[in-house]
């Protein structure tokens, strides 16, 4: 690498040379565009974040019905809002581990039943009050309470008692749970003064930003919290979230320079957007998956051979190619993929019309099978249903596809009809995913999967602190779901975000889209 090129890239990183002239001069020195671009990016990272400026985010999901109560946050916009003004006790690290946040350290008793969190000292809320262990206790109490409507309620079952001791918060569980910190990293659980019991929608927290203007479904403006303790978060002086639900409008806003970053770029246009100048598309693997779910206790799907026949009759690679446009990975009929901390590879089930025909014959089922779908069950679901219909037809299985209306799909079809399309956003740990949808007593057992052995293994893994043993148990559990269960999981979808040249600092992370919603906090404005 020539010294001149290096010199130029450092100048460009400090803003003394604009990107276009840097690229031009790099080309004159014989560097390829890709190489020059990589050099510039690493020089910018090395130069470190630039403070100040206004960072604008075009974000999908917000609606005029949104509440500021952290417990009621359901969509990508309200999740992002929580990240701005609030902080959880611990958080998901970029590589999928756990980082302390409002707790400076934490430890578990040997049986993983008692957990102690030590509060970071000197942290204050935006109203000037100190963050205390009492507030943490009150927050968890509010989300886990009888009357709670919180989205985190399901994660917080099994708490026996909570207490505080000075700057320590102590939590006791009825059964051991090695994953407790992952559950407390849930985005709903931002710590509020007195747990938000006085006014859950006050938006007063200890986060890097303070909410200045709030128009649900339209626009949210945040200003830097001058007393924020962590210099690594919150580089821009002002952050503006513009709710743009129309896909085309969101991409156009990025193209026209009105926003610096957008989430949820439609897979169909992702590669086209990536080819435009001045915009970079980031396609990040996630735990989210698109599924076809059968009720394993309802005829005709109570027949294991029929379930297997359908599992062999779907072409997973084709779905990744045609529905996700390559922005994803093939599923293996288990809700778990490499995004999970304790994942191990299993043998991949593939499209096999002969096996499908064999099992279909063995099931003794006569006639066609009815599959229900709708546009909002996942993007491209009706198309995916038709692909499934064709690949199944090659195995002699007739699928009837019934298109249901979007309105009421989640209340009238999903979890009610025996065979339909749906999606899952994924959970931080295997335990949380299995407990949410595959345990016999799960809240959303949408495949009606009842398996005693599986339930026992889940509890055993929860109490096990030895990682190797837990990995083995979880792998076996995935195999059981895949062979016995009612889940057909053809694909895991990527999160597709796009950022403009005007911001720097993107890193690939686990969790949700926009760098697990940390992009507006960890990226900085350069132009």
């Amino acid at each position: 690498m020539s010294n001149e090129l290096k010199y130029l890239s450092e100048r460009a990183a400090r803003g003394l040379l604009n990107r276009r002239s840097f690229m031009g001069r790099a080309a004159a020195l014989g560097a390829t565009t890709t190489f020059a671009g990589t050099m510039l990016a690493s020089a910018v990272m090395a130069a470190g974040p630039v403070k100040g400026g206004t960072l604008r985010v075009g974000i999908q999901g917000g609606s005029s019905t949104d509440s500021l109560d952290p417990g009621l946050s359901t969509n990508a916009t309200s999740t992002q809002i929580l990240r701005m003004w609030g902080e959880p006790l611990v958080e998901l690290a970029e590589d999928g581990g756990i980082d302390p946040r409002l707790a400076s350290e934490y430890e578990a008793s040997a049986d993983a039943k008692t957990w102690t969190f030590k509060m970071r000292s000197g942290v204050t809320y935006s109203n000037g009050k100190s963050v205390t262990a009492e507030d943490v206790k009150a927050t968890i109490e509010r989300h886990a309470g009888e009357e709670s409507k919180s989205g985190a309620l399901g994660l917080l079952r099994g708490i026996v008692s909570m207490s505080t001791d000075g700057d320590r918060f102590i939590l006791e569980l009825d059964t051991p749970n090695a994953d407790l910190p992952y559950l407390l990293a849930d985005y709903h659980l931002v710590i509020q003064p007195n747990g938000g019991k006085d006014d859950p929608t006050a938006a007063i927290g200890s986060g890097p930003y303070i909410l200045k203007s709030h128009e649900p479904g339209v626009r949210h403006v945040f200003e830097k919290n001058p007393n924020y303790w962590n210099d690594d978060l919150g580089h821009a002086e002002t952050v503006e979230l513009l709710v743009i639900n129309d896909d085309t409008a969101r991409v156009a806003a990025l193209q026209s320079g009105q926003v610096h970053m957008v989430n949820r770029v439609p897979p169909k246009v992702a590669s086209l957007v990536g080819r435009m100048g001045g915009v970079k598309v980031h396609s990040t693997p996630s735990a989210g998956h698109y599924v076809f779910i059968m009720h394993a206790d309802t005829a005709p799907f109570d027949n294991k051979d029929l379930r297997l026949a359908l599992k062999y009759a779907i072409n997973r690679e084709e779905m990744v190619e045609k529905i996700l446009f390559g922005n994803g990975t093939a599923g293996n009929d288990s809700p778990i993929n490499a995004s999970y901390p304790l994942f191990t590879e299993r043998e991949q089930r593939t499209y096999d019309p002969e096996k499908a025909a064999f099992h279909f014959k063995a099931s003794g089922h006569d006639g066609s099978v009815l599959l229900r779908t709708s546009d909002n069950s996942f993007p491209g679901a009706p198309d995916a249903a038709q692909l499934f219909q064709q690949s199944a037809a090659a195995a002699g299985i007739t699928l009837d596809v019934k298109r249901e209306p979007n309105d009421g799909y989640w209340s009238e079809v999903w979890n009610k009809q025996p065979f339909c399309t749906s999606y899952w956003g994924g959970r931080p740990t295997q335990d949380a995913m299995f407990s949410t949808a595959y345990l016999s007593s799960a809240d959303w057992n949408d495949t009606r999967f009842f398996n005693d052995g599986f339930d026992k293994m889940l509890l055993a893994a929860r109490a096990e602190l030895d990682e190797g043993k837990r990995k083995a148990i979880y792998s076996d559990m995935s195999t059981i779901v895949s062979d016995e269960g009612g889940l057909i999981c053809p694909m895991f979808n990527n999160f597709i975000d796009a950022v403009s040249e005007g911001v720097e600092g993107w890193r690939t992370t686990k969790g949700f889209d926009l760098m697990n919603n940390y992009a507006p906090l960890k990226m900085w404005v350069t132009a």
Partner: protein, 318 residues
């Protein structure tokens, strides 16, 4: 003025009656929606006790006609009710959105109506010559294209390529009036293109109709210029059909702009209604439906009244 007043009060009474009928239709329509309201609010995880409590809270145990009259009573006192999704009063929320929608609609109207009438007059003046054909061709082309297509084409050129106007038309309180106008430049252009043709063609047709009359010939024989004949003699006599079509298009600008609001991310009534329909927030949907109906009825009422006032035979009956 006696018969005039009678005519007007008849019209207004008819409008009120129509609104009442609409309120019945809206109420029974939302009543017929499948699924239990309490269940759709609480979702999958609802316990039977919570469902029973919520049903009692919402008054769902009362017969439908009782609830209708309670709703109507509230409306007459200016109380639109409470949104189910966030528990806030509907009135102030809708007020802001309605204000935005009216701002967009009136700006579009201020541009479109004079332009349409002027183009109509020009088309008559040069009828069957190239200006007439050009105006007709261009406006018909713009009305034939779907509005989302025009919207995206404008975004591509004016926002992405040339960066003249923003593609996102979000407006908020701290913006100055000029900033707001800049923000809504593209949606206003789309709306203008969509409503222009209808009004312009109607103006042209109505005036051409009058131009056949004997008194126009007299005016021409008096030696008046062609444009003066049209503007002074023909136009006043064709006001009533023109006002009718203008009002229809104004109503469209208020209630029919959902697609444009979505494309340009404009925080108006349409987007607000769509958000609440998807959450089954029935009181909001009812309130929006009634407001839209009221806009239609009132604008049509105005059209009728103007038609009456502009017609000397109705103004001075024998």
């Amino acid at each position: 003025m006696g018969p005039m007043l009678k005519l007007l009060s008849q019209r207004i009474a008819l409008g009120i009656l129509l609104l009442l009928a609409v309120s019945v239709v809206i109420f029974s329509g939302t009543e017929m929606l499948p699924g239990d309201l309490a269940q759709s609010i609480l979702g999958q995880s609802a316990t039977p006790e919570a469902l029973a409590n919520l049903r009692a809270d919402l008054g769902l145990n009362e017969p439908a006609y009782v609830r209708y009259f309670e709703w109507l009573g509230g409306l007459l006192q200016g109380d639109l009710g409470t949104a189910l999704s966030n528990g806030q009063a509907i009135g102030p929320q809708i007020g802001k959105r309605l204000g935005n929608t009216l701002f967009l609609a009136s700006t579009a109207a201020v541009v479109a109506v004079p332009l349409a009438i002027f183009l109509g007059l020009v088309a008559v003046r040069f009828r069957n010559r190239w200006p007439d054909k050009l105006i007709s061709g261009a406006t018909l082309a713009s009305i034939s294209l779907p509005e989302f297509f025009i919207g995206y084409v404008l975004i591509y050129f004016f926002a992405v390529k040339w960066r003249l106007f923003p593609s996102v038309a979000t407006v908020y309180d701290s913006m100055s009036f000029l900033e707001k106008l800049n923000a809504i430049a593209l949606p206003v252009t789309v709306l203008t293109l969509v409503v222009l043709a209808h009004m312009m063609r109607m103006t042209r047709a109505a005036i051409l109709n009058v131009m056949q009359s004997a008194y126009i010939e007299t005016a021409e024989l008096k030696g008046l210029s062609a444009f003066k004949v049209i503007a002074r003699h023909a136009f006043p006599n064709s006001i009533s059909p023109i006002v009718n079509v203008v009002m229809l298009n104004l109503a469209y600008l208020v209630v029919g702009v959902v697609v444009v609001e979505v494309i340009f991310v404009y925080p108006g009534m349409g987007q607000y209604l769509v958000d609440h329909v998807s959450k089954r927030d029935v009181p909001v949907v009812q309130a929006c439906g009634l407001i839209f109906a009221a806009v239609y009825v009132v604008l049509n009422l105005i059209a009728d009244i103007v038609a009456i006032l502009s017609n000397p035979r109705l103004r001075h009956p024998k």
